[in-house]
Amino acid sequence: MSELTPGRRAELLEQRLVEHGHVHPDDLDAAVAAAESPAGDQPSTALGARVVARAWAEPDFRDRLVAQPVETLSEYVPQPVPIAVLVDTPTLHHVIVCTLCSCYPSALLGNPPAWYKSFEYRSLVVREPRAVLAEFGTELDPGVEIRVHDSTAEQRYLVLPLRPGGTDGWSQEQLARLVTRNSMIGTGRPLPPAGAAASG
């Protein structure tokens, strides 16, 4: 089978599994469609952004999220794998990776981006995080400690980035628009308020 293209092999595999009643093509279609266009209450960048924005706006929620992350996030969507929240500060910046495979907080953020699963990112970010972050356009002050979290066990991570300045009084909906996927992984920062204020 290995001489066939992956696409052809996937087709043959699906045929065999359908033949024996283990999968139904309609169910596969639905699963792919849901992953590509997640509903509001399903794991996605948008759902993660809502959580981060609420943590910025509500100190009690933030404390609960940090102290009891599995329970708190399960109020939004089930967390079948332990998850912890990494809180950025002005002097500490967290970034996550999985050097051995592709472990990612999928139960909150959905499927990881391709670069997160790439050999390039997996090999280098543990060794030269400042250089890797620079490739994402993220420059950190030399005084900021970088902590790289290699997801080597069934323990997932969500980065809680710093709330951008100039956002006092913003609603959670407005704040959520500043939260990028990469800011919850640690390779990026939230958007500056200037760009998003007009649409907020």
Partner: protein, 194 residues
């Protein structure tokens, strides 16, 4: 196992293939099919056995295969060993362990120095090569989860064991000039007194 999948700290792979935030999740239609099909095989095994299968790819094949092509390799083998290609499933659904926080104490305490054991077999292992024999400091108990090597070998989950978050000075791992901190989650049985 000392496999090609253990990429942490390697040089030479080049710059990161950064894409826009709204990149498609699946870049080819078959990738979505493989992802969706995988759920059927994952119900009847452990995440560790899925990973172990991928780690069995010949190194050259691993390096030239795309992400979901590596998944496909594992899903084909899981489907075969679960009997799904020939009739009804030959193995039952594997119950998952809970994701709750452990309430018991282990051998190590936060702040304590620990050495990563150099105890690697040809089986599945979650200690990256770049951390073996290194001394770090226990940050906290991370979670409790069944042993990955045993879960991979059996295809079912056993009793949870403590997993610790351990932090390392990158300078110790990668030499002078590395000024960051590396954090990893390691099983109690992979740690020892320094």
């Amino acid at each position: 196992m000392d496999g090609v999948h253990d990429l942490g700290g390697m040089h030479g792979f080049g710059s990161i293939p950064v894409e826009a935030d709204d990149e498609p999740i699946f870049h080819q239609p078959w990738e979505g099919r493989v992802w969706a099909i995988s759920a059927t095989t994952m119900r009847r095994t452990t995440i560790d056995r899925f990973r172990w299968h991928i780690e069995q790819m010949p190194p050259a094949a691993y390096l030239i295969s795309s992400y979901y092509a590596r998944w496909l390799w594992a899903v084909e083998r899981l489907a075969a060993e679960q009997g799904l290609l020939d009739g009804p499933a030959s193995v039952p659904v594997a119950p998952r362990p809970p994701s709750s926080t452990p309430r018991w104490n282990g051998r190590f305490r936060p702040g304590q120095p620990v050495r990563v054991a150099n105890r690697v077999t040809a089986g599945h292992c979650r200690v990256p090569r770049y951390l073996r024999r290194q001394v770090g400091r226990v940050e906290r108990v991370a979670c409790a989860w069944p042993n990955p090597g045993e879960s991979a070998a059996r295809g079912t989950y056993g009793e949870p064991e403590l997993v610790y978050t351990v932090v390392f000075a990158a300078e110790d791992l990668f030499g002078p000039g590395a000024d960051h901190v590396l954090s990893a989650d390691l099983s109690e049985r992979d740690l020892e007194a320094p």
